[in-house]
């Protein structure tokens, strides 16, 4: 069980010792009981820190901002940034290291284990406590979560309100950290790709109908990629605007910009956008489920990435997010890679 006091003590220590610039963690939000990312600079503010099943965010996303900010600073503060990571978040960190986007010495990793297997699914919870308004959710004993509503506490079996991804999590504790709180209780997984079965069992036509309905909803608010720590490109290939230009970028180079996808949120363009994103996340997505959570229209984006994670495992025996030194999925191959699909 992660001891919040210890967590705060550690936070206080590193801030007082001036070991880190600031701490990226979770604090209670103002919109109901959901948290909001906390960026804590002063030791006296560590009291704000929380850790409970509502801490859904993958905070590594903010290391991307930090890098950008730092790049702009004249004399940057070279101290590392401390960050609180769950199992999935830590795998995101692995990818960022694997892709040399951040240096290990620039982060002080405070790893926390997901007690009883993970974080909440907002909608599942709402459905479960039907009508009643949840005020607080805590980790309970063995695979139970304690939900407090206006009408008091109720124990709910974790799997009923946990995020789908948590039920399929390979390791609900960090694989990389400087400090670790909690214990490495690996939940036993009979089927890590369970959530795919429904769609996989459909016929081709049904699958198309399903995804078409989903992507037709897309309003291209790009929350999926904005919240994704792997979508750290300065400019997304599908964007029609030259973003990574500088004052001395020649006109020809700007003219080189390709409209792979039109800005209009019409079916075909939405499809291509989501396909490109999925393929670019193949072997990189660590299934933190943030894209799906952020989507205001509940498009099950995660199921796209999860599918490719499954294929990577089954076709190429490629596991994502455990080894920062492993070459990326598409920049490596095995002689025995399957080719039965090739004429």
């Amino acid at each position: 069980m992660v001891n919040l006091k210890e967590l705060k003590k550690e936070a206080e220590r590193i801030l007082e010792e001036g070991k880190v610039k600031y701490i990226i963690g979770y604090e209670r939000g103002t919109n109901g009981f959901w948290p909001t990312p906390a960026f804590i600079k002063n030791p006296e503010d560590v009291e704000k820190l929380i850790w409970d099943p509502t801490c859904v965010y993958n905070l590594t996303r903010f290391l991307v901002d930090e890098k950008r900010r730092k790049a702009k600073e004249k004399k940057p503060d070279e101290r590392p940034v401390a960050i609180i990571v769950k199992g999935c978040d830590s795998r995101a960190l692995i990818i960022l290291l694997q892709e040399k986007f951040i240096n290990r010495e620039d982060v002080h990793v405070i790893g926390v284990s997901c007690e009883n297997g993970g974080v909440l699914d907002e909608k599942k919870l709402a459905r479960r406590v039907k009508g009643k308004k949840a005020l607080k959710v805590e980790f309970g004993e063995k695979d139970k979560l304690i939900v407090t509503t206006e009408e008091g506490k109720t124990e709910i079996p974790a799997e009923e309100i946990l995020a789908e991804r948590c039920l399929e999590c390979k390791a609900n504790f960090p694989v990389i950290f400087d400090v670790f709180l909690g214990e490495k209780t690996k939940r036993q997984l009979d089927n890590p790709f369970h959530s795919l079965e429904k769609i996989e069992s459909l016929s081709k036509e049904e699958r198309w109908a399903f995804w078409k309905e989903q992507f037709d909803k897309c309003i291209r608010c790009y929350a999926c990629r904005s919240v994704c720590p792997m979508c750290y490109c300065d400019e997304c290939v599908v964007d029609t605007i030259n973003f990574a230009v500088t004052a001395d970028t020649p006109a020809e180079e700007k003219a080189q910009k390709i409209k792979w996808v039109e800005k209009s949120p019409v079916s075909s363009e939405n499809f291509v956008y989501h396909l490109v994103r999925a393929i670019h996340l193949a072997g990189r997505c660590i299934d933190c489920g943030e894209c799906e959570r952020a989507c205001p229209l509940d498009i099950p984006i995660r199921l796209l990435n999860k599918k490719l994670e499954k294929e990577a495992k089954e076709l190429f025996d490629y596991e994502v997010g455990f080894d920062p030194d492993q070459p990326s999925l598409v920049s490596s191959f095995k002689d025995e890679d399957p080719e039965d699909f090739i004429k």
Binding site: W260, S264, I279, A312, V330, I342, K343
Partner: protein, 140 residues
């Protein structure tokens, strides 16, 4: 009776094997259907998934990717990366319910003029009953 549907196919051919193979087919005057417009690239390894999605988005009824046989790559190993990348694209397209018969990969060596014609013939035959590709075609 209405005229038979003629699929439009974009074929990405690597310069050293498949494109040379198609040249050989020409030199040997082998006949195959004219539905394919070849685009010669240096190596099958240089074919980005974006090319494939884009071709369908621009209205291709079928897309063919063809490179050297494993081990024969002019660039030593480009086709191995292609093999992996294309496998993922194919799986993804299948998964979203896209008609995966429309997307084909083949190994055609510079000596395989016959194979090239066979690949094209079969592909066209496979595409005709499917009719025009509308799933990813730009609908602006």
């Amino acid at each position: 009776m209405a005229e038979e549907f003629e699929p439009k196919i974009v074929a990405f051919l690597c310069k050293w094997c498949s494109s040379a193979g198609s040249d050989l087919a020409g030199v040997s005057r082998m006949e195959y259907p004219p539905n394919v417009v070849p685009i010669t690239v240096m190596c099958s390894g240089s074919i980005s998934p974006l090319y494939i999605f884009s071709a369908f988005n621009k209205g291709a009824d079928g897309v063919l990717v063809s490179g050297c046989h494993p081990g024969d790559c002019h660039y030593i190993k480009g086709n191995f990366y292609a093999r992996r990348r294309i496998a993922l694209v194919k799986k993804l397209l299948e998964y979203i319910g896209f008609e995966s018969k429309r997307f084909q990969m083949s190994w055609v060596s510079a000596a395989e003029g016959t194979k090239y014609t066979e690949v094209i013939k079969d592909f066209v035959k496979q595409l005709k009953p499917l009719g025009p590709q509308t799933q990813l075609r730009r609908n602006l």
